[in-house]
């Protein structure tokens, strides 16, 4: 029983790397999302002021939800973060849901979740420096300079916890689903459907929401109140 991400070793010039199943699945997820975006862009000219189609309703609902979600968590001034978090949300959600179609979710690979957490980590500290300037680093010496190492560890723990939470949850679901499929056929008739709803749909939505919400909260924490 193999629950890992398959790969093909690739060598281009002197540079060798693994072309993993995760990267391939990521491209599939990206392709689906990009096609959806292109369809929306084409259909946008036909969007009516009062939404008439279910498609327009759906697109407007998700975009407006994300916009108000970002505004609620980060404030009106930083609403532009919606551009980033919309992509992150859509990518994680579709990656998690891809398990329903038999793909290995890209989020079941630490490389994906670490990349996501790394962007959050960069944004956290970028916003800290951007809003507080040089004073940002003084915060690491508070309440007493002696706690500097602990403060640094706490900051480094953020991306680690973010990435491993998502990775662990989705990988755990994938492993359990893989094990279920090894059971006798009579069990496979009903049980996987229910478990897919839980692990792929429910946990998929929940983990996406948790990742995005925590990222916004961590970045928002670094923005002083006067902003």
């Amino acid at each position: 029983m193999d629950f890992g991400s398959s790969f093909i070793p690739v060598q281009i010039g002197g540079f060798s790397f693994r072309l993993t199943e995760t990267i391939m699945d990521t491209w599939v997820v990206m392709a689906v999302l990009i096609i959806l975006a292109i369809v929306v862009r084409i259909k946008l000219n036909k969007f009516t002021e009062v939404p008439e189609s279910g498609f327009q309703n759906f697109i407007e609902t998700i975009v407006e939800s994300m916009d108000s979600f970002v505004e609620g968590n980060m404030g009106k001034k930083f609403k532009y973060f919606g551009n980033w978090f919309f992509g992150v949300f859509a990518f994680i959600l579709l990656s998690n849901l891809s398990g329903l179609l038999g793909f290995r979710p890209p989020t079941a690979d630490l490389a994906t979740t670490a990349a996501l957490a790394l962007t959050t980590f960069v944004l956290i500290h970028f916003m800290g420096i951007f809003t507080a300037g040089k004073g940002y680093f003084k915060g690491y010496l508070e309440p007493i300079p002696f706690l500097l190492p602990l403060n640094i560890i706490s900051e480094l723990a953020t991306p680690v916890s973010l990435s491993f939470r998502l990775f662990g949850n989705i990988l755990g679901g994938s492993i359990i689903m893989g094990l279920i499929y090894t059971l006798p056929v009579i069990v496979k008739l009903l049980v996987p459907a229910v478990l897919h709803i839980y692990f792929d749909v429910f946990a998929g939505f929940l983990q996406t929401f948790i990742f995005v919400m925590l990222s916004m909260a961590f970045i928002g924490d670094k923005i002083p109140e006067e902003y």
Binding site: D2, F3, G4, S5, S6, F7, I8, P9, F17, R18, T20, E21, T22, I23, M24, T26, W27, M30, L33, I34, L36, A37, I38, V40, R41, L44, F47, E49, I59, E60, V63, E64, M66, D67, G82, N83, W84, F86, G87, V88, A90, F91, G102, R104, P106, D109, L110, A111, T112, A114, A115, L116, L118, T119, L171, S174, G178
Partner: protein, 179 residues
Amino acid sequence: MNSYFLTVGSFILTLDKNLLIEIGFQLFNLCVLCAILSFLLYKPVLKFMRSRKEKIAGNIADAEDKLKNAQSILDEYNAKLKGIQQERSAILEAANREANANKALIIEQAKKEAADIKNRAQLQIEREEEKAKDKIRLQIIEVSSLIAAHFVDNSLSDDKQTKLIEDVIKGLGDVKWQD
């Protein structure tokens, strides 16, 4: 989990150089995806919704303005109507006063004119009467002269005298008739 492509190996978690390379790949993929989604989907849809929101807000503000304008016009017209009613009452009152004044004047003038006409008529009647009297006097003188002439020319018997007087009277009646 079954893999859909030929592989030479698989892994769940490796903390090595390959992980860093794959993180790099995923970072690139993520950035490209977010940029494309932002450019093609999020921004245009948000722009569309914002412009619609602004348009609706504009329409609402416009409607409120129009409502305010309509209300002020209504107030203005109500005030004008009230003014017009007052003005009408004032005009009617003034017209009544003027009419009453004119009425008194006209009646006075009419009375004066009537009195004048009456006086003129009276005067004319008196003049006519005087004229008639003068004429009669002249005719009497003429008749007397004629009678005197007949007396002188003829010695008259009583019968002749009576006949003569009757003739004169007849002649006098003819003269009067002729006049």
